[in-house]
């Protein structure tokens, strides 16, 4: 075995061995530490933005809580019934329903202050169809959540309407009413669109008569349950009962909460480039700058950026304008990459005096094509897009997308070619603000599910050059790839 004293002595000597490091090391280290700090903040801001957007979407686009509404509706209905009907107040609406389940469910239910000549909408057997419809319109409460529903009330908001409604009453209406109630059958009519005075108005389907189970009553929206004793007293008080009866199961579906703003997640993958427009491209870049006055031949390699991989992730909000047109906005992170042929890596740092102070760049590269340098671009953007459905089909809707995309380049390591012929990256040379345009086609799949998926090709082009003027390259970032939008209803 060899003597260990050699190792021991060597180890002791090397323990104290030190070697001076150049200042460039700390400069590079400091730059990296600052970059990391900035990146950390960018990440924090990005995710904070995402959280805020998601929270906004949640509160903005969530459906109304049906239980609360139904409870209010139920309570109001009970209150109305107890006020207006000679039913013992100690009994629940269910009891009332059960009680009236026999021959005359609401035989005793006669509006207390029904005016002569007026008739509840529920009692219109034997009328012509148009009359029925008019009554149906008037029978719709016109109040929603304690507030006046201008949509429905529009048909009765003026005296003329009321007269028309009231004018249809007959003297023998009470008898008819009895007959009708005593039949115990549901005669529902679900005319949603009824023409009144030349207007098409949407009307909730009306149960002309019949037994209304408690569940149905509970599910009835307050717009039908709550009646006001004010301006439309005569009509309202008399009709509120009918209103409360006027909602069937179909109506529940019709009144199911609609989410007006959709939320989605976006993924894109494809090919990105930073290409010069054909107008500005310097075609002579790859010329060999020949020996001038017998000087050495200097080969000038062209500065190019070859396309590379790109992807994006983001979240968005979509607001339907009409059945075919949507507008949407959100927050998207883009990663673009390109590659540039470079020569050997320069030793140490490249020092360039910008007129005021020395700036050091490291790493830097000589021109050449012995290696490929990967330029990376990181962007955050707020795309504002419109989509137009170009076909009528509901199975596979196809949309054309068009949008603008203001963004911010949060970081890049892209190298550009200095007049010295060296290639290096300089944070001050990028155009941080980027304005882009985009277009594409999307095909929507799983349309009937809760999470539809839109997939299609997309093209984005940044109108702002990636580098500032004077950097010698007028390239614009662009992206061609596949986009997938995952929609959350």
């Amino acid at each position: 075995m060899p003597d260990n004293s050699f190792e021991h002595k060597l180890s002791q000597q090397m323990e104290d061995f030190s070697y001076p490091a150049s200042d460039a090391v700390w400069q590079k280290l400091e730059a990296n530490l600052l970059k990391r700090k900035k990146r950390r903040w960018a990440i924090i801001w990005f995710f904070s933005g995402l959280v805020l957007v998601s929270a906004g979407i949640y509160f903005f686009a969530r459906p109304e809580a049906p239980n609360m509404d139904s409870r209010v509706a139920s309570n109001n209905l009970n209150a109305d019934l107890s006020e207006n009907l000679p039913i013992s107040p100690g009994k629940s609406s269910a009891d009332k329903g059960t009680e009236s389940n026999n021959a005359e469910p609401y035989a005793q239910i006669k509006p207390a202050n029904i005016a002569p000549g007026e008739i509840p909408a529920a009692v219109e057997t034997g009328r012509s169809k148009s009359e029925k419809r008019k009554l149906s319109i008037s029978s719709v409460g016109g109040y929603q959540n304690g507030k006046r529903d201008t949509h429905n009330v529009s048909s009765i908001k003026n005296a003329q309407d009321r007269e028309k409604v009231n004018g249809t009453s007959t003297e023998n209406s009470k008898e008819t009413e009895k007959e009708n109630f005593s039949s115990g059958k549901k005669v529902s009519e679900s005319n949603n669109n009824i023409e009144t005075e030349g207007k098409i108005e949407e009307v909730t389907p009306v149960l002309k008569t019949g037994i209304v189970p408690e569940n149905d009553i509970k599910k009835t929206k307050t717009e039908n349950a709550v009646a006001d004793s004010g301006s439309v007293n005569n009509v309202g008080n008399n009709l509120k009962l009918a209103d409360s009866l006027a909602v069937g199961k179909n109506d529940q579906k019709a009144q199911s909460p609609k989410r007006h703003v959709l939320f989605g997640l976006r993924f894109e993958a494809g090919r990105s480039a930073n290409s010069e427009s054909s107008f500005t491209q310097n075609k002579s870049a790859d010329m060999v700058s020949g020996p001038s006055a017998g000087g050495p031949i200097v080969y000038s390699y062209p500065y190019t950026q070859e396309p590379g991989f790109a992807f994006s992730i983001g979240a968005w909000l979509r607001k339907p304008i009409n059945q075919r047109v949507n507008v949407q906005t959100g927050l998207t992170y883009h990663y673009y990459s390109t590659s540039t042929p470079v020569g050997a890596t320069g030793q140490g740092a490249l020092s360039i005096n910008n007129g005021m102070n020395d700036m050091r760049f490291s790493p830097y590269y000589q021109q050449g094509d012995s290696a490929n340098y990967q330029n990376k671009y990181h962007l955050l953007s707020v795309p504002i897009e419109m989509s137009f459905q170009i076909n009528k089909g509901k199975k596979l809707p196809v949309s054309w997308l068009l949008g603008i995309e203001p963004g911010w380049m949060i970081g890049s390591n892209a190298v550009f070619k200095d007049t010295s012929g060296y290639l290096f990256s300089d944070n001050n040379k990028y155009n941080r603000f980027q304005l882009g345009i985009q277009t594409g086609i999307s095909f929507r799949f799983f349309q009937k599910t809760q999470h539809a998926l839109e997939i299609g090709p997309v093209f984005q082009y940044m109108l702002t050059p990636a580098f500032k003027s004077g950097s010698g390259y007028d390239g614009h970032l662009n992206f061609l790839g596949l986009r997938a939008d995952w929609i959350f209803r």
């Binding site: 061995f17 490091a21 090391v25 280290l29 530490l33 700090k37 140490g348």
Partner: protein
């Protein structure tokens, strides 16, 4: 000691001044470590920079139960090994031949070489030898540990080490001759 704790605290807060202080306190000695593992000063500086980035990133993992210098040194050694593995020039040179019979020099050469001279001699060794020698003779890793770090067998590590040691002893013995001949040449 209290100062060091304060500096660490400030570094954890991301204070760039404190980070500079920490760097300046250890830069030269750690550069010595990196210098031994690489073939050029530029590479050593790259490793040093990368190593300090890791130090600042993982400083929260330093529990304070050992010497901070030792902890940073371990990071530098690991960074150096990773650098050698990643860098194509070193990777191509780090060829570990199968263990074979090798002459063992029993004697320990007496020398009056400076640390820098020895470091320079170590750097003259083939990369594989250099790495194994640094890890075993100076850092004190066992051959089993070296085998795990470099992905080689224990015997290969032992064999590489003995070859490196023999070469180094030979060079140290001939140091005076070499020096004299170099002086003569000048």
């Amino acid at each position: 000691m209290t100062d060091q704790k304060q500096i660490i605290k400030d570094c954890l807060r991301g204070d760039i001044t404190a980070q500079r202080k920490l760097y300046e306190a250890f830069a030269e000695s750690m550069m010595g470590v990196c210098y031994r593992y690489t073939k050029s000063v530029q590479d050593a500086e790259d490793v040093l920079q990368e190593g300090f980035m890791r130090v600042f990133t993982h400083l929260k993992q330093y529990r304070g139960d050992g010497e901070l210098g030792g902890w940073i040194r371990r990071i530098m050694v690991n960074t150096s090994i990773n650098y050698l593995k990643k860098n194509i020039h070193y990777r191509n040179e780090m060829v570990f031949s199968e263990p074979s019979l090798h002459p063992v020099i029993e004697e320990t050469p007496e020398h009056a070489l400076q640390a820098k001279d020895i470091a320079n001699l170590i750097r003259q060794l083939p990369t594989g030898y250099q790495t194994v020698f640094n890890l075993h003779a100076i850092e004190g890793y066992s051959h089993v540990e070296i085998g795990k770090i470099l992905g080689i067998s224990e015997n290969t590590s032992r064999s590489q080490y003995m070859r490196a040691r023999n070469l180094l002893c030979d060079w140290i013995k001939r140091w005076d001759e070499i020096n004299k001949s170099e002086n003569y040449a000048r």
